[in-house]
């Protein structure tokens, strides 16, 4: 009971409990309980018998559901696809955001406020609508993009099996770059001007200053961005859902979240869906921990 002698009464455990209770109650109900329940569900399965037109029995199957999920080619394929998605998405989006923020921060940039507003605009558009807009922008016959390319002699089907992944990456890039530009730009503006002046006096060009001074100073903000982006990637559901209605290239199990949704609502296998959700949650937690540890190590360096 090593209670720090509080100089203020009414700031101790009991009052804290009062203030914290609403949040943790909701947290328990909306996060802890569902995960615990799913964990339990994932250890059971429905077993039918005969031709399957009678009833089903619930039985304990241990880790069988997890085995089935990992044995499913579509699930592991979806995980691989997510990895590929990250590989394309993160450099594009982060790179784009960094470049844009550096450009905004350049002394010769004009109309900064306007540019900030415009670059952040896509973020005000909900993900569903963004995906819908781009679905139309990828559809031949409707899309100005496709028309422009066709008039230049290039026939590109953004929605076929080869291009659909980068096309969906593009939607996410469009949605999120502006958001991260604002974060990075604010961090850049916090760089003390004296340092930049000193560098200028020493003869460093704008680009040198950007690379060797500004960039290292925004690394902390950058690592937070990468962390949240990685977590966000595992959430991928909305954009593939919408695009799947426009093309056969996005299957119903294209990413793990869609796989879990399909298991629950198309195949009526709630137990497998529960197992898949647990796997996704564990992956997310693991990935977040890894990224946090990696970035804190980088920051210390």
């Amino acid at each position: 009971m090593a209670r720090k002698t509080s100089t203020m009464s009414g700031t101790g455990g009991r009052t804290a409990a009062l203030f914290l209770f609403p949040f943790f109650a909701v947290f328990a109900v909306a996060m802890i309980a569902p995960v615990v329940y799913s964990l339990v569900l994932s250890f059971y399965a429905q077993q039918k018998s005969g031709l399957g037109f009678g009833g089903a029995k619930t039985s304990f199957v241990g880790l069988e559901n997890y085995v089935q999920v990992f044995q499913s080619e579509t699930f592991t394929g979806g995980l691989g696809r997510l990895a590929l998605y990250c590989l394309i998405y993160i450099p594009c989006m982060v790179g784009g955001a960094v470049v844009f923020a550096l450009l905004l921060d350049a002394t010769v940039a004009r109309a900064r406020k306007l540019f900030q507003l415009l670059v952040f605009l896509p973020h005000a558009v909900p993900g569903v609508i963004a995906a819908l807009i781009w679905a139309y922008l990828y559809t031949p016959g409707v899309s100005p993009l496709v028309q422009a390319l066709q008039s230049g002699g290039i026939q590109l089907n953004f929605l076929d099996a080869h291009l659909v992944l980068p096309s969906i990456v593009n939607i996410a890039v469009w949605e999120w770059t502006g958001y991260n530009v604002i974060i990075l730009f604010t961090a850049l503006q916090a760089v003390p001007r004296e340092i930049l002046e000193a560098a200028r006096v020493d003869g460093a060009g704008e680009i040198r200053a950007a690379l060797s001074i500004k960039f290292p100073l925004i690394l902390p903000a950058l690592s937070v961005i990468i962390l949240f982006t990685v977590i966000g990637t595992l959430q991928l559901f909305t954009e593939p859902s919408i695009i799947s209605k426009a093309t056969a290239s996005v299957t119903s199990t294209w990413v793990p979240n869609l796989w879990a949704y399909d298991a629950a609502f198309n195949r009526h296998n709630l137990n497998q869906a529960a197992a898949a959700s647990i796997i996704i949650a564990l992956l997310a937690a693991g990935l977040s921990l890894a990224v946090t540890r990696f970035s804190s190590r980088m920051n210390k360096a």
């Binding site: 309980a33 031709l51 399957g52 056969a248 119903s252």
Partner: protein
């Protein structure tokens, strides 16, 4: 300290609740015992056009039962997922519309009630053909009243065939020959399309060739997605695709609509219900009178299959199955229901005598021949003995997903292989015994 305790006990309470309630399929609703009088308000979900008018007619024609109609997306757009989820959660409709391919799955999941005891069997189910009856009866009980009987039918641009010097194909060999003639005069045209998003059509083609994708041997299932007949069909269509006689595109997509409108497509492999879709998409480009219906080409002896077709059912959620059953009888067997639907398409119905009524409501003047005569001929040659398995969704999804690779080098045969595997493991995961 106290809070931690609270959280832990809450968690354990929930866990025990979960274990006790089984697998959380929601509070079970037991169907009420059949009451003598059929009355009350019932809900009716359907994605078929014109059903709102049928519900209105029913409400107007009597005042004991009131039907509340709600339109839902069709199967391809999540309609069945919505239905199934609602039934599981306990707030599904009283009356549902389920296609023959999906019905066994709903029955197997216990989501549809048997109708025996609620309907007048002799005057309804027993009057349709044996083949159709087999599509709605499981475990010795009827789980729905059949509505349409949708024979697979081929539609052609007669003028384009004439220009190419080809006759209307009667066999698949003639189809290939006609396709080659067509390519010779207009290389950019196609004789038909292969739809990656309609595995039910691939099933129909296999059915027509004599395949049996799902059959039962005693208490066990037997899969036939890789049987000889299916392989023959898959090899043929792969050749058609490779030789560009047939184009791979999604049915009902913008691309398909555009191809119909500008004459790139000289044929549509569909069913009786394809008529409205073809008309809507081609009338603006002056193709009236140019489209004809024809029996689908066969493998030497006339044979046909069903492509689509729905039944009406009483779901497990229904607390008033007597009233629901009465409404279903109206829907599936009464001429007034068909007349009320109006001109929503060239329906071909299962119950004897109703098709004449449907024919009256439909203006077939757009087409170049007597399409209903063709439907009759196609219906007469349906091969008996086809069954749908208890988890069509697994096969359907697997086929759709693998067909997605057809435009980038995938092959139909490979798709059938992987789908067969997926179906097999689906069966096993449910604890059913199955062999191939």
């Amino acid at each position: 300290m106290k809070r931690r305790h609270l959280l832990l006990s809450a968690a354990s309470l929930l866990t025990s609740a979960a274990l006790l309630s089984g697998c959380g399929t929601g509070p079970a609703t037991t169907p009420s015992a059949p009451s003598g009088e059929a009355s009350g308000t019932i809900t009716f979900w359907s994605s078929l056009a014109g059903m709102d008018k049928v519900a209105e007619k029913f409400n107007a024609s009597q005042d004991k039962i009131k039907v509340k109609f709600e339109t839902i997306p069709n199967g391809g757009n999540g309609g069945y997922a919505k239905l199934s989820t609602a039934i599981t959660a306990g707030n599904g409709p009283d009356v549902s519309t389920i296609e023959y391919a999906q019905l066994p799955q709903f029955v197997s999941n216990g989501q549809v009630q048997p109708l025996d005891g609620f309907i007048d069997k002799a005057n309804t189910v027993d009057k349709v053909s044996e083949q159709i009856r087999g599509l709605v009866q499981f475990d010795g009980k009827s789980h729905g009243l059949p509505y349409d009987a949708a024979p697979m039918v081929m539609w052609y641009r007669k003028d384009l065939l004439d220009k190419a010097g080809a006759t209307v194909p009667k066999t698949w060999e003639e189809f290939e020959a006609a396709g080659k003639k067509l390519k010779a005069v207009s290389p950019k045209s196609y004789l038909a399309s292969f739809y990656p998003n309609e595995p039910t059509l691939t099933a129909a083609l296999s059915w027509q060739a004599g395949a049996k994708w799902f059959s039962t041997e005693g208490d066990s299932w037997k899969l036939g997605l890789r049987d000889e007949a299916t392989r023959k069909v898959s090899a043929f269509w792969q050749r058609m695709i490779d030789n560009k006689i047939v184009k791979v595109e999604q049915a009902f997509s913008d691309e398909w609509s555009a191809d119909l409108a500008n004459g790139t497509l000289a044929g549509v492999l569909g069913a009786n219900w394809s008529a409205t879709g073809i008309q809507k998409r081609t009338e603006a480009s002056g193709q009236k009178g140019k489209w004809i219906a024809a029996e689908a080409p066969n493998w030497g002896t006339p044979a046909g299959a069903f492509y689509g077709g729905s039944s009406f059912n009483v779901t497990k959620s229904s607390k008033n199955p007597t009233a629901a059953a009465k409404f279903i009888e109206f829907l599936a067997t009464s001429p007034e229901a068909v007349a009320a639907r109006g001109n929503t398409g060239s329906a071909y119905l299962a119950y004897p005598g109703l098709t004449k009524e449907a024919q009256k409501a439909f203006d077939a003047g757009y087409f170049g021949n007597d399409i209903y005569a063709v439907f009759d001929k196609a219906y007469a040659t349906i091969l008996p003995g086809w069954q749908w398995g208890p988890n069509w969704d697994v096969t359907n999804t697997a086929l759709k997903d693998s067909f997605g690779a057809l435009t980038t080098g995938g092959k139909i045969g490979d798709a059938l292989d992987s789908s067969s595997d997926a179906t097999l493991s689906g069966f096993k995961q449910n604890g059913l015994s199955v062999k191939e």
